[in-house]
Amino acid sequence: MSIETSTPAASRARTGTGQASAGVIERVPGPAERDAKAYRRRGQLSDNLLRWGTPILVLVLWQLFAMAKILDPQFWPSPGAVAQSLVENVSSGYLIDQLQVSMLRFFAGWGAGALFGLVLGAVLGTFRPARMAIEPLVSAVFTVPKLALFPLMLLLFGLGEMPKIILIALTVFVVVTISTATAIVAIPEGMKEPLRSAHATRWQTFRHLTFPMVLPEIFVSLRITTGMGVLVLVAVEMVQGASGLGYVIWSSWQVYDVERMYVGIITMSLAGVALQYLVMWVGRLVMPWRTAGKRTA
């Protein structure tokens, strides 16, 4: 075997281990070690290419198919046509207004749900009697499809913002409660012993151990509930009222403005992506130990 075949092997294994020749194992610097800066730059480049490349590729393919008349423009308008509609709806201010309405509803509902979920989850995870008493109720609420409750919410809270916000909050609340409580219960006894031996109070234990330890799980549930919250939001806006992105999508269908319908869908999904990135970014910010010692943050 020649040297040349050993080099790619060495670069595949990031430790720089390679099989130089039969019976000899070689440990040499890999590409990450030989020029750390260039390696990192290449890594970032490839990450970004993949991150932006896939959506762009999808768009390009879509445009090509549309131009080749493979896609029926009645159902699949070309990205160009959608972009034009986007520009119109943005410059008229309509889209921005509706986005704003939707986001306000979302943040009110999601924020309240997450907050109450954290508190109840912490209580359930910490106090066994509370867990025994309340967990069955939470499970029951978890099982009910939240959308089925919307008519009830309308009855109880009228036609304003309240029923929408509460429904989103309820969806988020249940999931965050369950994840938080489960994560707290799962903390190994051994982790608690240093604090017990120091005679820490319940609050001190929470602050120094429980909370930081369950933060990763909490952030996973926060991320998942952004998706669930957006789903409920859109559904509710379609059913009732005349505002928000859900309404934009629904009403576009009703008047057969397919381009605007796509604008609504795409705006919603971009907002969803942005929300998830926001959650992950905050997560990295408040859990600096999780990225410590990682190759790339």
Binding site: P194, A198, Q204, H208, G293
Partner: protein
Amino acid sequence: MNAKIDAKDVRRNFTTKSGEVEALGPFTMQIEEGEFVCIVGPSGCGKSTMLRVVGGLLNPSSGSVRIRHDGPESQAVSIVFQDYSIYAWKTVEANIRLGLDIAKVPREEANERVERWLRRMGLWDFRKAYPQTLSGGMRQRVSLARALVVEPDILLMDEPFAALDAQMRAVMQEELLAICQAEKRTVLFVTHSLDEAILLADRVFVMSARPGRLLAGYDVPFERPRTPDLRGTEQFAHLENEIWTLLRNEVNRDLTNVAADGRSKKLEAIS
């Protein structure tokens, strides 16, 4: 009562799916104030259990442990754990501070004490680092500093150096010797190394196979301050041999029981 730690007929059982396990006892011992006691015994004989009972993490099933201590209970005992010792989400500095934060020691004083131990353990340059980025030996130093910074009356240590390599172990032993000679603390130190036990201890206790009882206590006659050079002396070897003979019988007895159980876990019998 004038012993610092007075354990009387301490037993501890555990209930498991496969039945009741007698982990410890009846275990009786007295430790005087300022004494450094090392405990050795076959693996699974209840050393950690005994330490946890003394540390108040586990109640005895019967019997009692009395600890003489004036002042707040939070300064009575601190423990260096066999595992799970330090928190990933705290920097080195914050980990060491933990006990002081919990005892609400004033900020100025806490800073000063933390700094002293950071320097003493050679961790000053790493005070802002997260444990994930440290070596095993450094982590162990963090957990040692965390236990010592609260200046406890009694220090309980459960095989604190077991995970370290030979050099690091020697360095930490010397460090611990220096610390204990400077400030007379009562120390209860579980180890599976006889060599370590004799080097560090005033007395070495040997425990029986599970359920662990106190088989014998050996006085270690060497003057302090001690240095690791002691290992070369004939007296050292003689004592080590004497304890080893007793311990080996105990381990063998334990293994015979295990073999009778139809299992065959012979390795790692002594730890």
